[in-house]
Point group: C2
Chain length 309, copies 2
């Protein structure tokens, strides 16, 4: 792979990385007028870049970031910006503070960390169709989505803006699956985190070679066994939900039908529920290590006080 | 902390670390006659040491290792060797092969990785004594154990010799808790791995400052809710088993009554079952990262063929 450029931030304790950029993004920065992107410091020895740092407050830095990426959008500098969502995502400093916000699809250009939630919705049913009692709701991404259209996905998933994981999960469960808040509050459990770094390929619908460091808080939602609750698409991001056995899902994954990072989070489900084991999966320990990567960036911090707990 | 020495192994692809030693162990090596420890290569620049490498087969290297650590035991060179167990533990190379074996308590002197299994045995009961339905069997370590005597521990735990995690778990469940093999095979689930590095303190009963890199395969065993199965001490390593609520365990951990690495594995249980959450535990993400450390050494590999799966 080509060498990367590091986006760094400087605080009172020193400089630290907040993202990794491929050559094309560095080239675009160089080609952008300083009146648009603001001042940029480049350290040739470490290939590190400082951006937005001359502005002294978060709103000013967010405005600078918006000016830069909106310019690139107008210039059609990057294909990925066609999927513009109008959702500003936070970028964090070392004290959990927000340094600035940036349109979510543009965050990927700078290789900054993305935070989200994934939920496995399932019910327990013992019958001859599977070795395992789990029947899992698999969602199919809308064919009109800008990234990974038509691929299979976990029951409900989404990125976090300025909200706690639980609040984000409840919001997404409603928006994507029409799952009621009271059901969520009484039954959903945060059971894991999965963290990894992936590099985009053409299925992303945008540039290949972008760095996506992600941390997902993972939830299990066991529905009543009688099938009285069924997730239903609402906001158009999901084409349909289908109830699958573990064997169905393993076959789908082997066929490459799953969005890759979602398959990774499904592996965590299969591990937590004793389906993948050290004895039946030769790469068990390697999978465990790789789905719990230490992301080299600061992230959000949640306090009990934020949610009135 | 003082600087460490690295024990390295050389294979056809180069040298790699297999352990980290404090100064006292290096000093003891230097003071040991070459006729006892065999040839030792020391690279001053990298503070790295090669041992047992002149022997060309695993049994010969194991014999050399035994000669060295038995000598230290006779000389009373290290307090930790008073806990001698007569259990040779394997040390692995990069292809999953055993380089040599060494008495388990001596493995700690060289800071080599230790592999084990921990099991949470619990039943589900809803009543007014706890917010959570889990009633968990907590074991109290025998007051005569050489390390961490009298401290609280997970239901069943033990180190792995040359056996797969499941086989080791079944063996320990019988030896420590009198839990029958058929119950284990029908109900136990491997649900997680926890990996970490800790440094010994006086509670270890041996030297302080030893490096313990460990990987534990973690099992959940849900017992019938009627309480018809009860773990019972058998081999003398456990003084008693008591059934505790989550709140009991949290209070015990806060009081420092738990063996520290066992408390870490209990945190993984509390996370997997949705009791510790990003909203109620400010260090949630940090805990998740630290209990899934990438150990910097090669380890065992298990294949389905080993267990006839």
């Amino acid at each position: 792979m080509e060498r990367l450029y590091t986006l760094v931030w400087q605080d009172e304790k020193g400089a630290f990385p907040i993202g990794y950029m491929p050559q094309a993004v560095y080239d675009a920065l160089i080609a952008t007028p300083v009146t648009v992107r603001g001042e940029m410091d480049f350290d040739r020895a470490t290939r590190s870049i400082k951006l937005f740092h001359k502005a002294s407050s978060e709103p000013e830095r967010t405005a600078l970031a918006a000016k830069l990426v909106s310019h690139w959008r107008e210039q059609q500098a990057f294909k990925i910006l066609k999927g513009w969502r109008n959702e500003p995502w936070p970028v964090y400093g070392r004290n959990g503070e927000i340094l600035f916000k940036m349109e979510r699809v543009a965050v990927g250009l700078f290789g900054m960390a993305r935070y989200g939630v994934h939920m496995h919705v399932f019910l327990m049913r013992e019958d001859d169709t599977s070795k395992y009692p789990f029947r899992i709701w698999v969602s199919k991404r809308s064919p009109t989505k800008s990234n990974y259209p038509g691929m299979l996905d976990n029951s409900v998933a989404g990125g976090l803006a300025e909200e706690t994981p639980l609040e984000g999960m409840i919001r997404e469960a409603d928006e994507e699956g029409s799952l009621p808040e009271d059901l969520m509050r009484s039954r959903v459990k945060c059971v894991s985190t999965v963290s990894y770094v992936y590099i985009t390929d053409p299925r992303s619908g945008g540039e290949s070679g972008l760095i996506y460091p992600e941390l997902q808080w993972v939830y299990d939602l066991e529905l009543p066994a009688d099938g009285s609750v069924v997730p239903t698409p609402k906001d158009g991001e999901v084409e349909n939900f289908k109830l699958h056995t573990v064997e169905d899902i393993q076959a789908q994954m082997a066929q490459g039908l799953w969005k890759p990072n979602c398959a990774v989070i499904m592996l965590d489900f299969l591990i937590r529920h004793g389906i993948l084991t050290p004895e039946n999966e030769p790469h068990y320990d390697e999978i465990q290590r790789r789905i719990h990567r230490r992301l080299p960036f600061p992230g959000p911090r949640y306090e009990a006080s934020q949610i009135g707990a």
